[in-house]
Point group: C2
DNA sequence: AGCACAACGGCGGTAAGAATCCATTATTGA
DNA sequence: TCAATAATGGATTCTTACCGCCGTTGTGCT
């Protein structure tokens, strides 16, 4: 796998939110109903996304979570970094610490173009793309 | 990261073996000396590689581990699968189980070419490439 | 003001991965 | 045959990710 399951939950949760609520507000109970998303854990994940500025939240009656920006301005890369910290998508195939040192890991050069492409994909693909893809299948 | 740390140890251990011993035999003590590879843990990892047919081993005095095939016949993909099992490099970006279901995950199509390229890289890159890259830097 | 509601945050448990220790087995050399 | 050696395998510890429980805090409605 490329992302941790926590990050995957973040992506799926946000994706659900984008499809079902768009820029509107939505509660966790509604969002996780009918899905296999673990409500309690997703609550934790969403808190991280609030702190990262991807979501906004409001308490009490009528409260819930809302996307802080339009769907096309939230990329997979931003989500991953919000959960796993900056540099989440750095690091070489081998995961060598030496990659940061003066002597980069042997595979650095070979893997470089692949990682570049992967990073491009993660940076340019947004929640809007996910939502569109989901709606297309349902329609 | 893409691979588990266990897989990374496998790759690094085999890479060391390829560079320092080639097709010859080498003991764990020698191999891990001067590196940050955890000897005891690498012993476990190497056992998996023996069972997977990537390494051969011999006990007792003069024993050690030897590559079961020429370096150019051992790919990163084979190593990863030996550790993480078959299908280690399958699965979509989102890690959705629905990818196997009649309704593939929304990003399946978008991510497909990237994964294809990644798998190509892992399948075609071998220990010979790693060893050559390492020697190049040292020389 | 008071009540219901929903996010917030601390704590705790389970499971898998990572790593170590030690006893056992097999091999070589003297 | 005996001793030294090095991999093998079992058991155990430690860490981290994943997930749930529950009290707290803040908000809106009546």
């Amino acid at each position: 796998m490329f992302h941790s399951t926590t990050t995957q939950y973040a992506i799926r949760g946000l994706s659900e939110l984008a499809v079902r609520a768009g820029q509107e507000s939505m509660m966790l109970d509604q969002l996780t109903a009918g899905t296999d998303l673990p409500r309690e854990f997703l609550a934790k994940v969403f808190q991280q996304l609030v702190k990262a500025g991807i979501l906004t939240s409001s308490k009490g009656r009528g409260g819930g979570f809302t996307l802080a920006r339009p769907t096309h301005q939230i990329s997979l890369m931003q989500i991953a970094q919000a959960i796993e910290g900056p540099g989440a998508c750095d690091g070489c195939v081998l995961g060598l610490s030496e990659c940061a040192d003066p002597a980069p890991c042997p595979e650095h050069d070979l893997y470089k173009p692949i990682r570049q492409r992967l990073n491009d994909y993660l940076s340019t693909t947004t929640l809007a793309d996910l939502a569109a893809s989901v709606k297309c299948r349902k329609g």
